[in-house]
Structures are given as C-alpha cells and as structure tokens.
C-alpha cells in the first residue's frame, strides 16, 4: 500500500503527512504561503483562487480552532465551505467512513479537510479516491490520531523560517507528550527533511514512542540538559486525560519537571523562540511568564497557520 499523496508526476495530490514529503515540496508550500500573509492585512481579505470550489470540513473529532483556521483559509480563497461535525451525525448512526465520503463525493466535493481520531484515516480516504478514479478530489489531513498533522508541522516550519531564516544550523527541542502527538511526528519529519542538524525530544520515558531515535532525534529525559543551547523550543500540549494515572502521577509534578519556566528557558540561547500549537495549558506545560513573554511566537504561529493552509489549498485545487 503506497502513500498516495504525490501523483505520478511527483506533484502534491493530497496532503496526508510530512513524513517522506520531498524537501522541494515543503519549501514550495512555505514559499507559496509568504504572499498570503499579506492578504490578511488588506481591507478586502479575499482572493478568487478557489472560486466555485466546494470544500468539506470533515471533523470526526471535535476541534474548533483547527476547523476555524481551515474555514478562514478557504473563505479567503473564495471557496464554498461546508462544515460537517461528523461526530454528531451519520457515523453516529453507523455509516462507515467511506460511505460518508462517497455521499459527499456525490454532492460534488472538491476537497476534504479531515480530522479523525484514528491514525491513517485520511490515508484510507485518499487511497479510496484513487481506487475509485476520483483523482480530482483532494484530501488534507487536519490531524489523524497520533499519526500526522501536516499543516501544523508546515506552519511551524514557516514560523521557524520567519524568525531563524536558515534551518541548517539550528538546534530544535520538542518538549512534552511526544507519544500521543501527531504534531510532534509532523514536526520531526519536516525538521529532518529541511536539514536541521540536531532535533531533540524532551519528555519522561512514559511519553516517548518506542524507537523514536530511528526518526533521527536525540532523546532527553532531563529538561535542563535538553534545553541547553537550543534555538527553538517547541512545546506540546498535554491532554487532560494523560495528566493523572499510569503515564504521569500529577500535573503538579509534570510542571515541576517538564514545565517551561523562565528559569529553564534561560538555558536555551538568548534569542531562542518558544512555540506551542495551542491550546495552552498554563501552569502545566508552560508558565504564563513564558507564554506571554518576549520569546514566545505562539500568536504569530496562528496567523501564519492561515497563510500556510491557504497555500496548501490553492496548490492542491487552485486554477
């Protein structure tokens, strides 16, 4: 079973994962995104690139923030956007994922933006579209299980490039629940492809995937050691359900050992930037003094996120 995200000519057909996505494609998305950041600053924030296209936001897992950014991106490209909160509709009645897709295809969808709790769900949809000869329909993975969140990974790369210019001499640390994080997997894949010489992951052993070193990262259990001399700190969100139980004893202990405080941040380079995919758990993975501090670029990430999603959508389905 191959990855159907590139077509026969090596062009982007779907955006499913950053793992294995060629460097030129990633760079080209980032390059495309740059002019879109200016659109947001105009009085009329619209471009006609996707006029007449129907984009279905298919969120099998609840999300307000990501869905909203995709919706804004699509609308700024003049697409028609349909939001389906599938967790409360047909699948709850027993309809299979691919039946839902077939039905929406019959409504002449041009693009699906899919979030799903199961790793690989958007890959399955893309494989199904390929197998049924519907290659004019595109799929964007908006987060699947623990597998990938490629647009988040891309907007993070955009942010790093914006502040650091060059990837070739950076030390980047990813901190937190890597085990359950699709964001971390997409970040690691993209950072590796873009040539970052040192990628670190910092977490307790319970929150690190088995054999993560095979993805080209150095692991640290000690946060202070891991943060020493880094250029970029990428914090991950700790989900509520992981905070107590067999993975971690308490949020308090987590904060004490792996929470990003001003004091720990001092170990990083003085010009290090701090990123977070949101929503923030203040006082658990990050101290408010850091989240609101001068080194944080968390809100610019959100702004860049819309431009990057516009870039992906227009590259996939634009005229």
């Amino acid at each position: 079973m191959h990855n159907p995200q590139l077509n026969r000519h090596g062009e982007l057909q779907h955006l499913l994962t950053l793992d294995g996505l060629p460097r030129e494609v990633i760079v080209s998305i980032l390059d495309h995104a740059a002019p879109f950041t200016e659109v947001a600053e105009r009085e009329v924030k619209k471009l006609p690139l996707l006029r007449g296209k129907s984009i279905f936001n298919l969120f099998f897992e609840n999300s307000t923030r990501t869905r909203t950014t995709f919706e804004i991106a699509a609308k700024r490209l003049t697409a028609d956007v349909v939001n389906l909160n599938v967790s409360t509709s047909s699948t709850a009645k027993g309809e299979s994922l691919l039946d839902t897709i077939d039905n929406l295809c019959a409504m002449h969808a041009d693009m699906f933006v899919v979030r799903h709790a199961a790793s690989g769900a958007p890959v399955l949809i893309a494989q199904h579209l390929l197998a049924t000869g519907r290659d004019h329909i595109h799929v964007i993975n908006a987060g699947d299980g623990r597998h990938a969140h490629p647009t988040q990974g891309l907007l993070d790369m955009y942010t790093i490039r914006h502040y650091k210019r060059d990837f070739g001499n950076l030390i980047v640390a990813i901190v937190g629940d890597v085990l359950h994080s699709r964001v971390a997997r997409s970040q690691i894949a993209a950072l590796g492809t873009l040539g970052v010489p040192e990628i670190r992951v910092i977490a307790p052993k319970t929150l690190l995937p088995t054999a993560i070193e095979t993805m080209g990262v150095r692991t640290f259990n000690d946060m202070r050691e891991g943060l020493r001399g880094v250029d970029v700190v990428m914090m991950l969100r700790l989900q509520n359900e992981r905070m107590a139980g067999a993975l971690l004893p308490t949020p308090q202990e987590y904060y004490k050992v792996w929470g990003l405080t001003p004091e720990k941040l001092e170990l990083a380079k003085p010009d290090a930037i701090v990123m977070h995919p949101g929503p923030l758990n203040r006082g658990i993975e990050i101290d408010s003094a850091v989240a609101d501090g001068a080194q944080a670029v968390i809100l610019p990430q959100v702004t860049f996120g819309i431009a990057v999603r516009m870039a992906v959508m227009s590259m996939l389905a634009g005229q």
Binding site: S119, A121, G145, R185, T210
Partner: protein, 425 residues
C-alpha cells in the same frame, strides 16, 4: 472408488519417503505404494507426472466462521477453499458466536461439516464458558462431542487462578491446552508491534513483553499442573527463547507459527495496509527471520494458516478500527513452498510441518501420512507452477490477505478426501 495416482513424486514425511511411484487407493484408504495390489482395477487414474503427491495438508487453525459470522464466510465457502488449498483436515478455533463451549454446538458443527463432505474438521473447544475466562467448560463432554484440544483463541484469561484451574482440569484427562501468548493488559489499546514502524505511523503498540509475560506465565502454570501446553502463533524471537529455555529445563512444550508471521514483518504495514492487521501483531524483521529459522530446525513444531476471513467492510477502515485477520487456507501450501525455497529445505522437511508434525499436535493418527491403511487424504500439487494471488483466484469468501498480487509457487492439482476426488484443476 478405486483410484490410481501414477508417476508422481510421493513425499511422505512421516515415513521419510521421497520417490517417484504410484499410489493405489480403494475404499477410502491408501492400499499400496509402488506395486499394485493383486487384482487392483482403477476406476480412475490420475496422471501425476512432474507433480508431488503428498498427504492432505493439516491446518492447525482455520476459522470457518460458523456459527455466528456467516456474513463473513460459511462452512461451505471455506471448506471449498480448503479443498482448493489441498487442506484435508482443519482444526477450528473456538471463537465462533456462540463460542465452542457446548457439546451440542460442537456436534452440530461436526454434523454440518460431515454433510458437506469436504475437509475433516477438528474443533478446538473453549477452555472457559464463552471464552470469558471465568468458568470452566465441560471438557470431558466436549471431547466426546469431537473436540481435540482446548483453547481461548485470542481471548485472554485475566485471572491466573482460573487459568491454573483450567490447566489442572484439562491435565486430569490429559487434554491438550492450546494458548495464545498475549498478556491482556499489555495488549490493551494496541494494534501493531511496538517498534519504529508503529511509532512512525502513530499506531498504539503491542510490546513483545505482551507475548513473553504471558508465555512465562503459561510455562510456569503448565509445569505446576502438568498440562499439555501447545503455544499458538508465536510472534517473537524473545518468545522463542523462552520456549527453548523451557525445553532445556526438560519441559515438553510445542508451538506453531502462522504463514503470515513466517513471511511478513511490521514494515509490510506500509501506509496502513489493514491486511497486515493481525493477532498477534507482525513483529520486526529480526523476529520474522528467527521464526523462519526455528520452523526449519523444528523448534517450532508446525506451520498453520490462521485462516480468518474478514469481509471488505471490516477491512476498508482505518487500521485501528479494522478487524484483524487474514484468509489463508489457500496460501498454506504456496507459502510453505516459498519458505522452503528461501531456506533451501528439502520437501520432506517443509511438508512435515503441515502434515505429519501438525497431525501429531492435533492427535490425528490415521491421516497426515501415506502408509497403506491410512485414510486416503491426499494433496497432489505442481511445485513448479507459479500463480498470482488475486481476489478472483481465492475461493474463500475472505479476500483479505497481505499476499494479494504476489506470485507464489505451488498449485494444487488434485485434492482427495477419504479416497474421493474433491477438487481438481
């Protein structure tokens, strides 16, 4: 019906026979090899020039899906698949719906199979009622009804005291206990081998420790109770090491491996190929290679198909939501031959794992070999013919196998059950 199979290469591992000769069959039995018995007049002659004449294959695990899962497959469709695969005896795991925990149910299943008159079936009874791991099944009565062993299929017994009692009770009668080594809590929520592939794909993992922890428990309890333990579907090199150690300590324990785990590893999951969603999970290449070597040197006693037909609707799903299992009855011979070719094993050794060795584990004495007097269950195949596995080529109702599209050696030409020609191609 008197049948003469002429000029075939007769390979009978049980008797270490490997030579070109004729086989004579009458009244459902093998009556002679080589020389025709006096006055033998064949009603049908099967030319086997260039073909291998082997005992009908014995499969230690084939889910025929009845009762309870008839929409996935039926006895009829799957026994047809068995015939096309040269499999003349199948052991059936108890995870039907309801489970094989009732003598009446087992009798009914045997009756239905007998009426269909294809492969012989050997039900494996549920060790506990509804496989729940709480109350013992009526083992003595189940054996009377036709069960050859007892197992939990892929369901665990969480309460080790119940497991020990079940093994003790089975040992009372000398019944075989077949157990799948999967520790329940270590398996929970996992779908693939806990290694770099699962980590990369974001699939929750099942560590090798799930196998070794359970295996260690089983071995200790078997030692304590004297139960006849057979370990099903071994998946890891570490698990194999525990078996080796137990044997070195003088324990009599047997084990098997599936055709999938013999040839595949977690890399084959690729981009979420649900045909590779199996129980136990496909492990690392190193594990696969260790299993293949152990099967060659006999430390793993037998090879089975672990046939599990699953319909498309339950496979065309995200990996973690798909149903585990692969169809296999028709792949048992080709994948045995592929493995034999890779390890340069003589046919006598390779075929033993799916005939005489498997027969010993099930307790079949009158089949699995070709001596005069044996039940005339025979598989005649062309070892050189290669064919591509496709949905259309499979008789099984389940088209789910990781080997779709692969070209494999070995094509069955004739399958005989009790001297009747049940399949020819």
């Amino acid at each position: 019906m008197k049948i003469r199979i002429t000029n075939g290469r007769v390979v009978d591992p049980a008797h270490q026979i490997d030579r070109v000769q004729d086989v004579f069959i009458a009244e459902g039995k093998i009556v002679a090899l080589g020389q025709a018995p006096d006055g033998f007049a064949a009603e049908r002659t099967l030319a086997a020039d260039g073909l291998v004449v082997a005992p009908g294959l014995i499969d230690l695990a084939a889910r025929l899906r009845e009762p309870g899962f008839e929409y996935r497959a039926t006895l009829e469709s799957e026994l047809d698949a068995a015939m096309a695969g040269g499999v003349t005896s199948v052991a059936i795991p108890p995870d039907t719906d309801p489970a094989l925990d009732e003598p009446g149910l087992v009798e009914m299943l045997c009756y239905r199979a007998k009426k269909l008159n294809r492969a012989h079936i050997y039900p494996v009874g549920a060790l506990t009622i509804a496989l729940k791991g709480e109350r013992l099944s009526e083992m003595a009565e189940l054996v009377e009804a036709g069960c050859v062993a007892f197992s939990q299929a892929n369901e665990p017994i969480v309460d080790h005291l119940v497991l020990m009692r079940a093994m003790q009770y089975a040992a009372t009668f000398g019944f075989r206990v077949w157990l799948q080594p999967l520790a329940p809590f270590l398996t929970r929520g996992g779908f693939a081998h806990d290694g770099d592939v699962a980590s990369r794909l974001g699939l929750p993992g099942i560590p090798v420790a799930a196998e070794t922890v359970a295996l260690f428990t089983y071995l200790q309890l078997a030692k304590a109770t004297g139960a006849r333990l057979h370990v099903t579907r071994l998946s890891s090199a570490e698990g194999l090491r525990l078996i080796d150690q137990a044997r070195a300590d003088g324990m009599d324990v047997t084990c098997d491996v599936s055709i999938n785990h013999l040839h595949l590893c977690d890399r084959d999951i690729g981009h979420f190929n649900t045909h590779c969603h199996l129980v136990p999970p496909l492990r690392s290449p190193r594990d696969r290679d260790a299993l293949a070597r152990a099967l060659a040197d006999g430390r793993i006693n037998a090879l089975c198909s672990d046939h599990t037909p699953v319909d498309d609707d339950h496979k065309l799903k995200p990996f973690s939501e798909s149903e585990p299992g692969a169809t296999g009855l028709e792949l048992l011979l080709p994948l045995t031959l592929k493995w034999a070719g890779k390890h340069k094993l003589p046919l006598l050794v390779a075929l033993a794992r799916i005939t005489s060795d498997a027969a010993r584990l099930v307790g079949i004495t009158k089949a699995g070999h070709l001596a005069p007097g044996a039940r005339a269950d025979v598989c005649v195949f062309d070892p050189a013919a290669r064919h591509i596995i496709s949905r259309d080529s499979l008789k099984s109702q389940g088209k789910n196998t990781p080997f779709l599209g692969e070209e494999l050696p070995g094509q069955v030409r004739y399958t005989l059950v009790e001297g009747q020609l049940m399949f020819e191609r």
